[in-house]
Symmetry: D2
Amino acid sequence: MIRIAMLGSGFIGRFYADALHGYRSKDRITSVYSRREETAKKFAQDYNCKHWTTDMEESIAHPYADVVCIALPNNLHEAAVMLCCKHKKAVITTKPLGRNAGEAWRMLEAVEKADVFNGYLEDLVYTPKFLKAQESIKNGAMGRILWAKSRETHPGPHSDWFWDLEQAGGGCILDLGCHCVEITRSYIGKDIKPIEVMCWADTQVKPIEAEDHAIALVKFENGSIGQFEVSWTFRGGLDLRDEVMGTEGTIWVNSFLRTGFEMFTTGKGADYVAEKAESNTGWLFPVGDELNELGYNHMFMDMFNSMEEGKPPKETFYDGYVVNCVLDAAYLSAKTKHWEPVKLDVWRGKTSVTKESNLIEYDTDNYLVKEEITHYGAKKVILKSKKTGKITERVIE
Amino acid sequence: MIRIAMLGSGFIGRFYADALHGYRSKDRITSVYSRREETAKKFAQDYNCKHWTTDMEESIAHPYADVVCIALPNNLHEAAVMLCCKHKKAVITTKPLGRNAGEAWRMLEAVEKADVFNGYLEDLVYTPKFLKAQESIKNGAMGRILWAKSRETHPGPHSDWFWDLEQAGGGCILDLGCHCVEITRSYIGKDIKPIEVMCWADTQVKPIEAEDHAIALVKFENGSIGQFEVSWTFRGGLDLRDEVMGTEGTIWVNSFLRTGFEMFTTGKGADYVAEKAESNTGWLFPVGDELNELGYNHMFMDMFNSMEEGKPPKETFYDGYVVNCVLDAAYLSAKTKHWEPVKLDVWRGKTSVTKESNLIEYDTDNYLVKEEITHYGAKKVILKSKKTGKITERVIE
Amino acid sequence: MIRIAMLGSGFIGRFYADALHGYRSKDRITSVYSRREETAKKFAQDYNCKHWTTDMEESIAHPYADVVCIALPNNLHEAAVMLCCKHKKAVITTKPLGRNAGEAWRMLEAVEKADVFNGYLEDLVYTPKFLKAQESIKNGAMGRILWAKSRETHPGPHSDWFWDLEQAGGGCILDLGCHCVEITRSYIGKDIKPIEVMCWADTQVKPIEAEDHAIALVKFENGSIGQFEVSWTFRGGLDLRDEVMGTEGTIWVNSFLRTGFEMFTTGKGADYVAEKAESNTGWLFPVGDELNELGYNHMFMDMFNSMEEGKPPKETFYDGYVVNCVLDAAYLSAKTKHWEPVKLDVWRGKTSVTKESNLIEYDTDNYLVKEEITHYGAKKVILKSKKTGKITERVIE
Amino acid sequence: MIRIAMLGSGFIGRFYADALHGYRSKDRITSVYSRREETAKKFAQDYNCKHWTTDMEESIAHPYADVVCIALPNNLHEAAVMLCCKHKKAVITTKPLGRNAGEAWRMLEAVEKADVFNGYLEDLVYTPKFLKAQESIKNGAMGRILWAKSRETHPGPHSDWFWDLEQAGGGCILDLGCHCVEITRSYIGKDIKPIEVMCWADTQVKPIEAEDHAIALVKFENGSIGQFEVSWTFRGGLDLRDEVMGTEGTIWVNSFLRTGFEMFTTGKGADYVAEKAESNTGWLFPVGDELNELGYNHMFMDMFNSMEEGKPPKETFYDGYVVNCVLDAAYLSAKTKHWEPVKLDVWRGKTSVTKESNLIEYDTDNYLVKEEITHYGAKKVILKSKKTGKITERVIE
């Protein structure tokens, strides 16, 4: 059994709490901190927490809290983490870790110096679909990964602070891109170094300073390409999709808007359908179990099992730091209009990885370009001469 | 915390065990019974059970078992239930409850006389999609339910006993139809009485005595129609779908083969994909978290929460009994080629329900048949005269 | 070049005309008949027809008309066909051929006696998807067909006469079931005799005399089962789907509501989306080219190519007659609640077809029931002893 | 009736011929030129052409040819076009127009100087789905277009010359990107100037000099973003999809791999499934009518109707030229790793278009950032103060 101090009682805090107390869980939130007394009290009541407070340190230091779960606006992460280190408390933090790599680095350094358990709550690498996809990749079903795209777009976040550049630290790149970067890293291999980033970003629709739409490419040391597409201007709900291309296969994951549940209603009995749904009449696409589909259950399971086994979880502050470094490069690239290097002060993965050869031997004289069955049922090969480089085709019975 | 004695350690026993011990669960299997020592031992090892035995009663009577979970072939359910009653143990049983209504009735009577907690493990009315769909229906988003179809087809069950008429009690009607009947009852309203059944069944492909393909219609007292389509001859995996028509809406649920996860592989690294998948190359459609998508997690949550709160779960032996009665009528109808009445000795739902009127007032002289927008953007109504019954159309600006 | 006299200028007449004059067609409508002068004129103008009339015979007899296309309410088909025979004109008729088998039979007899070209305009066996599916079946990719279902449901027809039992001759069974019967016959094999029908029908929603919802099973001589699901009470648009099960494969065709085109709109610029769409905001699913997707283009191509080559088209009045016979049995069954025989006075397909054996030799002692790969990667077979009938399982390396 | 001289008799020439002679078409190919006598003869036979030749000019000059259709490798387009101009023949050319903007410009200049009808055969802006999507955009259903992506990826082209840099002029950017650029231009508005391009390209898999995978962003003068994703290394068939985001809506078009036709087969009767399909067992996704779904029919209809009406078609050589200019910028950007300007010597669309304001008035003091319905059913607005720029939220009953 794990006892949790929850910092923050807003949208994401409640999502976390639903997952933590879900199914027949043995874990419990024992203390909640909120900036406002009213919401702290309400949360404590709803989730049956014995202790609530408007003093963050009190909650962190609470003797019945084994781990602190940070579900606060981005600008408050660093201070909360420092208090956890002070009190030697295990700490798990919502995404993104910091508003930038500098903040992330200081948090990483602090938890490692204090030697406390640290987890980075990137739920989307724990979705059931992602876990299964990753397993297939590990088994080799995709061959070598060439490209991994993650897309998260919706009509914009729920709370005011997201829209404020100072508190949030950025727009949709920081809010949504952090998910996508970690997802694509995980498909490609978290031990492969992200090298450089090219990003376009713009404020196309919303009257805000931060970007509301962005697309970026991330180049990895082995030649693989990560891509993210993020926006707060999408119409139609929450579009959450991954696409992966490998030399031996393809993966398409749709985590939200098309999951095998379709409903038409004229609008009688209209009510809440799903996170960021835009409508409650006509054709609707609810998700069965949002908490599970979004990875919260498997994420907390990994976090707490790891804590109990005394080993680091799949996602640590170091991962959060890498993500922030990639995003910093994306923000810079959006301004300079160049590919910008990812500045990683510490790299813990593989080094000096090179691109694999793309020469497939066909016979002593030729490389194979392509093999196919024609309309007429014959087998055809397209070959490249090793000597001359000339391309020819040959029909084989 | 609930301590479980698991009877049976085959395919379904292991599925249950994975669900029971899943996530951060507080519940534990403390004893396992299997007919063969070897498999009992293996199961005990894999799931960390302290006690295993090849003596069923020993497991049922075990002092550290709060509830007995029956995961045995159909022909052994009754004997197991009787032993649970003898030892006054709470009991939950896999589907179908009995091989026929007679067996089901005796089990129902026994648990009620013994006054023990009883649960019917119909997982498919606990899938996340089903639960959400049902909520929408309760909220009125579908209006009055006209028709609910549930389809379960696949290339046939894993274990030999399913194919043996004596042990199984039937073919795909009993094996799969039991799911479909409870699903459609649940969409239409479990308090609405099933009245009569029309069923076609045949052994089209397999060299067995039981049916390997069947389709049935179930008429309910309010005029709603349930439908099941079941087969052991389907090619392409496990097809698990519901379709519901209401006066105000439509529901389409795909629980397995199309859930937003698509994968193509040339076949490198081929391995287990999903329950009853038929292939591991080409386009594949894995399910992220089978246990959750198939309802096991929410089912056990309801069972054990109910036990702890001292109230009956959503699905009890009574439901299993109703299902068996409907299936008995289906088997009979397949032979007589007539609609056959559902013989329910005890009915605990609503009685004397009648069909709702289908007259919608348009104006003092007419009922409304249909209203639509034409190609040309005009609004058109089709009306029926209250007096003459004559149908006319009228274009309204 | 074919010159057409079009009888009828309503919804279906205009659909036909769009197809006939579509793409770079060499064919032209040269005469149009309508009961009302105003609509005849309008149609002639819109489609550039030289001749229009309110006298049906005048149009049929018109010297510049090579073929007569009947697009009239059901109760007028017979009279129109008789006039075509009188004037020895080739005739093609919209579906259903007659309001019942009696009418259909008289029309069939008349055109055959008059020896005129006759085509039955069942567009849905000419859809591009259907044609390709049928080709795959011919090539053996599905093995032996076990079951073929066709579903057509929508919120009800556009014109008043459909809702009037006298003019239409029936409700959704006649209007939509005629499509489904011919589709399922075509999947199963048009030379296989339909033997008997079981049908449920009800008027669940609309204030009409005819049925607004029906489901039927059609048994064929070789043991295959056809199924139709038809309704005028479906919410959400036009649901047009086929499902086919064969011993070697599965076919799923969605012809309308999910064809790879998805659109979300807040409702600005709302306009006509698709036939029988119910909404123009939220998620919409338009069809790209309705005429082609619904089979009109390939249908008329077959009709006129056949005429020019002096051979019968794929669909003749005889097919229309068979469909009416099946539907008559369905109507009767809905009343008697029994399986009712299909009364075919003339059968032109195969006779005395029997069900194929379902015994697959495994070795000298056993038949094969099932072969599968277990979770653990082993191959398992389930066998039935030829002598004892006993079922066993055997794991093979 | 149009009489066509077909230059080239390979894969695309035959696709064109099938479309040109398709349905009940009045148009006919009267002459065919091929470099090899054997294939010219075969084509003439198959399509019933009276004249065939291995002398290109002979075919172009043929008196019974009204229009010349160029279906040759990229490096032969220019010479063929010049001959058409010499003989004052109407000319329509397959994509891409040139191997680069220089070639395209010379062709454009030549046809305009010679004053001959010229059409650019970009079929994918003529697909039924695209045409309908474009209509919805024109009607305002999408609001202002923010982003349009087109993706075309497959396992590589059929003929050897595509893989040869000299003959093809490039790799997948030129082969597939030309489609995507014209598609995205058409969604965004062909009168909006493409300004600059950022492109990543690599040879990840194939042993060739040209790129086999590329992704690019194209910025338009009004701030809209076009995107293309192209590859010859995709596994699983032909992936042909568009995605469009507008301020009022979303469009998702799947033109090939998921069009509502799904088939599983164990592999009996295996044969040709669809263009660039990779497998003929397991789950397959055929397209009903490839020619129509890929736009060929509507394309030639527009070309020939326009010729007959003496007006330019929707797609002219000028469009081909613009596409080549965009692709030249993409190739340059892939090398320089910067955004590169699109160098258009002649621009015939709108000029000095600016980005629209993104300020939505909420009340006299505030702009509206977002409006939403909360979990609890309340309406919430997020506002930005006009004066201070501060973001606040407000719950409204």
